[in-house]
Amino acid sequence: MRIEVGGNTHVGRVRQNNEDAFQIERSLNLYVLSDGIGGEEQGEVASALAVDTVVRHCLESENHRAAPLFVEPRPDLSERTNRLMSAVTLANRKIFEAAGSQTEHRMGATIVAVWLQGERLSLVHVGDSRAYLLRGGSLEQLTSDHSLVAEQVRRGVLTPQEAETSELQSVLIRALGSEDRVEADADEHLLLEGDTLLLCSDGLTRMVTDPEIASTLLTIESAQLAAEHLVELANDYGGHDNVTVIVIRALSGSTGLFGRLRRWGK
């Protein structure tokens, strides 16, 4: 299997600062995206710290298998997924400490991180940044938002339609840096040839509907161009928030001479 990745971020049409951050760490097949929260420049600091901490911790663990874990490993998760949970826990601690005692300048960040190992995919997230899987033409949201409205939908207080128009969409119930501990969600999936993964901040999903996202990913072959087009769409529809996307494609990995020649020719 061969992985093709594209990523893009934009401040949008309304905001002054881009508080989103992302990193594509090809050497590890690790993809991390974060949306910062906080006034002035705090949000930018928080999301950059989140992404940087997660990538560094995972890189370190590759060099030193015995690098300490910052969480109690869960027996139902793989070593990679536990490592990613550890990285996110560490990121939470760093942001919480960076915010210090200044309660007025509370800062925080969401995170969504995917780490691929062969066909196994580790996914960890906190907040309302999402991961989607496009398989066989249908788009499935792999993460559930840690937002108040999503919780209300889960509890049957709101319908999904009501949630979309709620004025409380920006209220998160979990984020990195808001408390000294964080509860991150972890999941594992199987990645198949032909699959496309999408990581995105809420700046995309508030502006662009799931069917539009799916059709973009289905019609634009290049991961980078698809990522750029999704950002453009969000801006065309008003660009109310910063928007960031990472598109990850799992392609047929014919490593034979023919496959190599064919790719070389492209």
Binding site: D35, I37, G39, P75, D76, L77, S78, T81, R106, G108, Q117, G118, E119, R120, L148, E151, Q152, R155, G156, V157, E167, L168, S170, V171, L172, I173, R174, A175, S178, E179, A186, D187, E188, H189, L190, L192, E193
Partner: protein, 241 residues
Amino acid sequence: MARLLLKFDTAILKEIPLGNRPVTIGRAPDNEVAIDNLAVSNYHARIYGEAGRLVIEDLNSLNGTFVNDMRVERATLRDGDLVQVGKHQIQVDAAHDAALPVDAWRKVAAPKVDETMVLDTQERREMLRQAAVAGERAQISPTRVRVPTLRVIAGKTNQSEYVLSGKLTVIGRSEMATVRLRGWFAPRVGAQIHKRDDGYYLGVGDRIPKVNGRAINGSTLLCDGDVIEIGRVKLHFGYPA
């Protein structure tokens, strides 16, 4: 009227109004508050009114009853106290009025709607409590901790039985697979089983597996006794009795 809230993590599983009768808590199904978890004794504790106070009494339970993290044999309960029984909590809510209107949400979250904000623990508890009260369908059934197994009925595999304790179980020839298939024509990643909150789902791999003789159409919730077929391999999916 005062009430008790049975909780697991942040989820409110049940609301128990307090009347004149004592409330018994335990694993046996005839308890007022029945908690199906091995950490809970059959008749674990009871809560009752006595001389205008609310009292909790441990019924010689194995793992103990805790009030605000203190182990107790008998204690007076106050509004807001948190009783821990096994992994579940019971919160005392003495000053509970009838269902709060959904409007109550707005008060907490009114400022700067456009700006993302994060609720702290206290606010979150309050909002989730209100969410549970406002939602009539709010009673989430407690998750059962039952781990199913796959038993090999036919075909070549590296073990004869597998306990599905992981989040993801891959079935195939791949080194990543938990259920390793043998043989030249076995698929690399024939199928997958994914553990979710509500059960175990069988999904396609580079083959489309069958359940009870029928090819699956997307992710399929597995039921006790299902037979999964991937090529020549047949696996029996079952929960422990």
